[in-house]
Symmetry: C2
Subunit: 357 residues, 2 copies
């Protein structure tokens, strides 16, 4: 079934964090190669260092110069770092930032030409990667500039029990309320709705929307963003065909397990979504950037400098990111196929309300 495999680029992220540990531990399980052809954008030298330092068995790397040379049965690696690159475990260094950026540039170029079908990005350090060429708060914004589709990119966190997206991301709490608008929430809901259909093959997604304020504002007693922004946005999105309900008080929503009744939850700000997501299932989260023309996933954790080099990092999140990239790519493929060959509608159904959305 070689033809069913997809080529996934893996960018090495920050070489001084836990990225090589989770990449190598994931690829050490040979079953991963049943479904994917991995191409690491990194440094064979750094990989060898960590493989030895962490005593990881069963990973034999095939060093190649370009993606066209890949061996479909092996773990391929393209060197994106200087030959004299130095690992400094647990430290943020300029050369680590440069190597992280080079890997990202090279992988996205191969994604653009179609040589890669998806990428999984290991965590970067958001400070040392900054340069004239990389001036983004993170991967998401960088990728949105290259692969945006008109609808906004949505950071979607996915684990076994829930999918959570946020309207506002890495901004101060003091800016959250003034950053909300009907338009922004409607756009996010539409992008989320499309993603749930094409990326997760959910025919008719149900989305829960959280309130902004404590108790979702208690009918205007504690803040008025629910009345003035969120409820009108819900109505407009519903009119545009999005099945969405809310606004829910965030504390009770997660406490009562209501997330299990929905395909996704839209939170208003970072911690409102990420606190419950991590509290309920820390080690198994995947960060998926919905709304791009390409497929990109990453683990929900960061560089974790404090854990680096100790052989204590869990690769679960990274492994799930790899499999999710595969699943999403396949889901998109199937949905494109369906769109090309729609079922012929029998005459007796023609006047029904069943629309192909």
């Amino acid at each position: 079934m070689e033809n069913d495999k997809i080529v996934i680029g893996i960018t090495h992220g920050d070489i001084n964090g836990i990225s090589y540990e989770v990449i190598l531990k994931t690829l050490a399980d040979a079953r991963v190669l049943d479904n994917i052809i991995p191409v690491i954008y990194g440094s064979p030298k750094v990989a060898a260092f960590y493989r030895k330092q962490l005593d990881i068995q069963g990973v034999n790397l095939n060093v190649i110069n370009a993606v066209e040379e890949l061996n479909p049965k092996r773990i391929n690696i393209i060197n994106c770092a200087d030959d004299d690159i130095k690992v400094e475990i647990g430290r943020s260094t300029p050369e680590a930032g440069k190597a992280a950026f080079n890997a990202l540039e090279r992988a996205t170029a191969d994604l653009q030409t179609g040589s890669l079908q998806a990428i999984v990005t290991a965590p970067i350090n958001k400070k040392n990667i900054q340069s004239d060429a990389f001036h983004f708060p993170g991967h998401t914004e960088y990728l949105e500039e290259k692969f945006g589709t008109g609808t906004p990119a949505v950071m979607l966190l996915v684990n076994d029990v829930m999918r959570v997206a946020v309207v506002t991301g890495h901004i101060p709490v003091n800016d959250v309320a003034k950053s909300l608008s009907v338009e922004k929430i409607v756009e996010k809901l539409q992008a989320l709705n499309i993603s749930l259909k094409q990326d997760f093959s959910i025919v008719r997604p149900r989305i829960a929307v959280l309130g902004l304020n404590p108790h979702a504002g208690d009918e205007g007693v504690i803040g008025n963003e629910e009345q003035n922004i969120i409820i009108p946005a819900l109505k407009e999105a519903q009119e545009k065909g999005v099945v969405c309900v809310g606004p829910y008080p965030a504390d009770g929503f997660f406490g009562a397990g209501q997330f299990s009744k929905f395909d996704a939850v839209l939170a208003m700000y970072h911690d409102q979504g990420l606190i419950p997501f991590k509290a309920i299932s820390m080690d198994s989260g995947v960060n998926y950037t919905a709304g791009l023309s390409v497929v990109r996933t990453s683990p929900a954790h960061g560089t974790a400098y404090d854990l680096a080099g100790k052989n204590q990092a869990l690769e679960d999140s990274f492994r799930q990111a790899v499999y999710m990239a595969y699943d999403i790519y396949k889901s998109r493929e199937i949905n494109r196929e369906i769109a090309r060959n729609p079922l012929k509608v029998e005459p007796k159904f023609e006047k029904s309300n069943n629309k192909v959305e």
Copy 2:
């Protein structure tokens, strides 16, 4: 051991919610009477209605006119409602608000004279209880006016795994950042510290403090309240003898289970504390008002109109509130005793750093 029992007043809250259900189910277990003498401030008529409607066995009420008439071996009830009071299950009515307020007034009067040793308040509806006499956002502020001690009252949520307090309460998210100040955080930390010692008998409490912004501000990249307010407050509180650490990024803090290393967590705003508290342990939370001269607890849930009259409410939270009121009263008693009879310090220790705080 009749002398070890304490008299606890139970206010009936909103008669159209789940309050009678959780009160009666709690008191139906006769073991509660081993430790406490309950006096319900409510309505014998409404109690009889729910006892029949929900088919609750084993609760025989002793109707009395005043707390002085209580029978220490029985469940006592004082009528605080009109004789023609009508239950309208699941609805907010003005007469329910009036009955809730009357019960509260009567119970706090008995608390003031020392006839009650503690109170447990069933949930009220924060809208229908409002009047010229009750113009507070909730129980906490009402009780703070009557029983304040100079230090601010602190809403402390307690369950089996954590204690969480919040700096700001029922205010819009847009007002949170501007409501924070070094002084306010220091005051809350001091009040919390005193409560952990005297109410929970923790000799040297350790308190974790959360940041305000995503990633606790990422060293000033995402908001500056950590640098300008929270970190200076931590330093000042530490100088005043409070053992406190932070600021922690809230999502990772709860996700990694770090709360288990601390005696309490101070969150900056309502949802930051209540989302993880409820997500991790919804049914077993108790709301304790620290910093009052008297002991008051309540269940962490609200009136739950949607569950009322269906025999589906869990009494766990209410039962724990009753036992916690008992435990806190006893802890205070012991600590007063210790303060009255401090251990004589042997000369050789006199110059050590061991201070009685």
